[in-house]
């Protein structure tokens, strides 16, 4: 089923929207959830929450790209679930490693002075990614949006793990300057 047809089901409040979504994007959303939540049952529940969130969001929302819309919902729900459980940092999964790496890009303080318009920062990051070579951009998004492991990224792009890690390291160093420029 085409994406616009699935979205139309949501707008028509047709309950067939959810199985149609699950059939087409169940694997994708599960993958996103599993990269953040190492527990399979947690990931499954998170994906079910995604369908509910999608049901609640449409209407009024009409996503231009259903895959990324669902992916963002899943990522956000998985991260919130992870925070709620206060998972042990050494408990496995990619998230602790991803967060540690992202820590190189920020001050680590959460003061009032650091509060910024997150939309502005997101826009700055979008611009930053647009300016990156396509290869580096792809690695960055796979690592810090999808939370893919370095090994998975290396396999996907047929590069060595060392090469992938170094490319990401370079991008993080460049990104580290981004918040300062934006006054974060």
């Amino acid at each position: 089923m085409e994406d616009h047809e699935i979205v139309a089901l949501y707008w028509a409040r047709d309950e067939g929207a959810i199985p149609a979504t699950a059939e087409k994007y169940g694997g994708y959303c599960t993958c996103v959830a599993r990269n953040i939540l190492e527990d399979a049952r947690d990931a499954e529940e998170c994906v079910n929450d995604t369908w509910l969130a999608a049901w609640n969001a449409m209407p009024p929302h009409r996503p231009a790209r259903l895959s990324t819309f669902l992916g963002k919902l899943t990522r956000n729900l998985a991260f919130n679930r992870r925070k709620a459980r206060r998972a042990d940092k050494r408990g496995g999964g990619q998230l602790p490693l991803v967060l540690d790496e992202l820590g190189e890009c920020v001050s680590g303080r959460d003061s009032v002075e650091d509060a910024v318009d997150r939309k502005e920062l997101a826009a700055a990051i979008d611009q930053f990614l647009s300016d990156l070579p396509a290869h580096s951009r792809a690695l960055f998004v796979r690592r810090y949006w999808h939370c893919d492991s370095i090994a998975a990224i290396a396999a996907r792009y047929r590069i060595t793990q060392g090469s992938a890690a170094m490319d990401l390291s370079r991008t993080r160093k460049k990104a580290a300057c981004l918040p300062h420029r934006k006054g974060i």
């Binding site: 990324t68 956000n76 990614l129 949006w145 996907r156 792009y157 160093k173």
Partner: protein
Amino acid sequence: MTKEALFEVLNDLDDAHIAQVEAVPVRKHHWKIWVGLAACATAVLAMCLTLPALRTDPAPSAHQDPAPAATQTPSAAQTPDAIHLDMGDIHINELSELTAAAPLWYDPELYDQVWWDQEDLLSYFGRNLTPAYLPEGISPAPWNDQAQVVVDKDSAALVQDRVVLHFYHAYDQQGNPQLTEDVPARKGFSLSASRLGFIGDCLYVRPEDEAQVSCIGETEVIFGYRSMPYGPYDPDTHAPAGYYDLCVAEFTSGGIRYQIVMEQMAPEELVTVTASLLWGTDEIVLDF
């Protein structure tokens, strides 16, 4: 800002960035397909080599000579449109430090500084040293067609033949590379060449014996990368204002030792420039 907050901000990335990477499938090693393709390619190559030989030389032994295949240039061996270079085979070493070496000084009582023009350079190196591919916005320096070398006064022997060509984004009135506005560094690359082996005076891949070599065609190339800090530096934390890319390639080809030092450009550009210099074409496609 905390790392958790940044993680959440990343959720608002532009859909296009996310969708773009999702379009790339995981590459698996379909060895059966590759074995089949290799067999087909071998058969086609054998036919290509055999049929012309049969047509032009009826001698029974003529088509058994494997020499034509062995002497093919990379461009001839690849598709006619572009040469594909697999980035998975390229290793970029981390440059852990930069060291400035004292340049050699030549006593004017004993040595002469001699200017070479483009004709001299072509005659000596036997080739045009300008790479076939130049990254977008990069142009050769106006004085790339001349170079100064050092000759022994008594024997007239050439003792220093290092030639440095510049390829940068902008030049001042004297032809010197200019710095970019946002980052106080040059953008582009320098190319050093020498038949006597004098190429660099400041960049090393350390530890040297652990540097991984990449092959472009049959040429062994050492690539290096360093994230270079630039000022102004924070007076309290000494943190730099930012970092820019600095990459190096060193290799020997045709009896010439080369060093390319590239600033503010991605390592992929260096790989393309190096390949274009070696293969003499700008039709290079990097496969990731």
